[in-house]
Amino acid sequence: MAKSVVLVSNLYKDYQTAAGAITVLKQVDFSMEAGDFVAIMGPSGSGKSTFMNILGCLDKPTSGRYTLDGHEVATLDSNTLAKIRNQTIGFVFQGFNLLSRVNLLDNVALPLVYSGANKAERQMRAKVLLDKVGLEQHVNALPNQISGGQQQRVAIARALVNHPRLILADEPTGNLDSKTSEDIMALFSELNADGISIVLVTHESDIAAHASRQVRFLDGRIVQDERSRAIVLATESKEKIEEKEPN
């Protein structure tokens, strides 16, 4: 349990723009153990999305170390990174990002295409996961035929299809109403209870309260990193967290 899944130390990220270099992440130290459920908060431009991209092996830090599952990410080639994104990490996005022309079953099965599973296995596993997120009647529907909340469930099923150890969710409830958001968060909590580590970026403190740990970014630095005492307290401590928000 104590083994770190993610270990980030002294991480910097610069971007070159027309106006010169911008440092988006400064001296970030972060670690995460298997089974952690971390909510990352912070205003727009605070560097939280860049941090997520680096965690997801979509982007590389300018300097500093990032170790995922014991692998030094900076030393891996693009094929290995693709394999990590395929098998170790599952992505969930704010805009769901399903393929619009493809039915739900094939959307969920898509990562399996890239891991080389055969058709029967792909369909079988995709069905199991659609079942798990409660959409077993809609396997042949297209994404635009179901609601936003259902689409996000499909996206979660897709993220889970290759049994990842880490789920990275970038504002997964940003496009959903509060009732549906609660359902999605309940699903994340369930997954976390199954032992999957989750990193969740959100603006909303009541969503963040579902996590067992809240990390706050400001101007590229981590300014706050604290654990909730227990998730059950989350609802009653909602007000307190909101009071803290201004700092």
Partner: protein, 406 residues
């Protein structure tokens, strides 16, 4: 995995059917015109080759010179400078395998109530050997017919059609310039010559009979032409030189003076005709290839649009574990599928078009397995070549920017 990707390509093509169809149309027209042009070009070459074979190989024709009567010079072949003795002397030369002296002219032919004007060739039986001309019925006159100048004839197919109709010509008596001739044989059809003359519109009779009864030569033994066949193509220049030397000597023509005969290399004429059709069919193929190239550029253009449109999709695929080569393969496969299907339709239309041309104009067309395979290989390569750049562009997208793309 490959099958799954093929399915993806199919689905992507189905997503925008009109665009896929129009893109494909470029390939269809390209391949179709290449196949059609190659079929027509090869057909033309084939029919020229056939004419050359029908003419006979390694041939010279020696023509007598022009004559001058009252200040008016007639064309070549009208003086009586060549004789059967010249022909026999030529046959003794090294490298000459066959000779046939020829006298010819036009005459009216009558059978029953029908009459027909045709060309009369008076010659020896070797003429048929040189020209590789067979009979469909009957037999050829012999050397003894030449010696005794018998009135026998071999008739061409056009003549048979015009004066005999359904009657079997063998053994029947026809009249040429009022002289009765017995038909010994019917010549096999040879079709058009290289210059478009109907070679079947002819009657072949013994040389001596022609000279005495039909053509009325100025003096006995003179001939209009001598056909000479060399043993090998390599022997031809030497044979030509020797004929000139021999005839100049026999006709007492001094060095530098004009000859009273011409030697024409028929094979060279035929070869230049063959060369002309070959160049023409290459030209047709080249023009058709340009449309194939344009089709390829069309594919590249649409694939580039498709990559831009699907930037976000590419980002999603990369985020869930597609490698660069998976993306590359996906777009490349799409381009190849479009060009291969376009090629198949093009092949079908090209072959149908070639058959239509054959039906409508009677022009020979040749659809060879080779040209079909070349067209197919070229189409597949066009797909790969013009699909590669857009596919590589897709594979090299930055996943973060691709995901952010609206």
């Amino acid at each position: 995995m490959f099958l799954a990707m093929l399915g993806e390509a199919w689905r992507a093509m189905g997503a925008n059917r009109l665009r896929t169809f129009l893109t494909m149309l470029g390939m269809v027209i390209g391949v179709g015109s290449v196949v059609l042009m190659m079929a027509v070009g090869q057909g033309a070459q084939e029919s020229v080759k056939e004419s050359i074979n029908a003419m006979g190989s390694n041939l010279f024709i020696v023509l007598s010179g022009s004559s001058t009567a009252g200040g008016a010079r007639s064309g070549s072949g009208n003086s009586s400078s060549l004789t059967v003795k010249d022909a026999n002397a030529i046959s003794e030369l090294d490298g000459v395998s066959n000779i046939a002296p020829i006298s010819m002219g036009n005459a009216q032919v009558v059978f029953g109530g029908n009459n027909w004007s045709t060309s009369i060739i008076g010659t020896t039986p070797t003429y048929l050997d040189i020209r590789v001309w067979e009979l469909v019925d009957g037999y050829v006159f012999s050397d003894s017919d030449i010696r005794s100048a018998t009135r026998v004839a071999l008739v061409g197919k056009t003549v048979v059609d015009n004066i005999f109709g359904d009657v079997d010509p063998i053994g029947k008596t026809i009249r040429i310039k009022q002289n009765p001739f017995v038909v010994l044989g019917v010549l096999k059809s040879k079709g058009q010559s290289l210059d478009g003359r109907d070679q079947d519109d002819t009657i072949i009779i013994p040389l001596t009979t022609a000279q005495r009864k039909i053509l009325g030569n100025q003096f006995a033994g003179s001939v209009r032409q001598i056909m000479v066949q060399a043993n090998t193509p390599e022997a031809m220049p030497l044979v030509e030189q020797n004929i000139n030397g021999l005839l100049n000597q026999r006709h007492n023509i001094r060095e530098g003076a004009d000859s009273d005969f011409f030697v024409r290399n028929l094979t060279a004429v035929a070869n230049s005709a063959a060369e002309t059709t070959r160049t023409m069919s290459l030209l047709l193929g080249a023009i058709a290839s340009v449309s194939l190239l344009v089709g390829g550029i069309g594919i590249m253009n649409i694939m580039l649009v498709s990559v831009t449109e699907r930037t976000r999709e590419i980002g999603i695929r990369m985020a869930i574990g597609a490698r660069e080569r998976d993306i590359l393969l996906q777009f490349l496969l799409e381009a190849i599928v479009i060009s291969v299907i376009g090629c198949l339709i093009g092949l079908f239309l090209g072959i149908t078009g070639a058959m239509l041309v054959n039906q409508l104009t009677q022009a020979a067309v040749v659809i060879s397995g080779n040209s079909v395979m070349i067209a197919f290989a070229v189409a597949a390569s066009v797909g790969i070549f013009f699909g590669f750049y857009p596919a590589r562009k897709a594979a090299r997208l930055n996943p973060i920017e691709a995901l952010r793309y609206q």
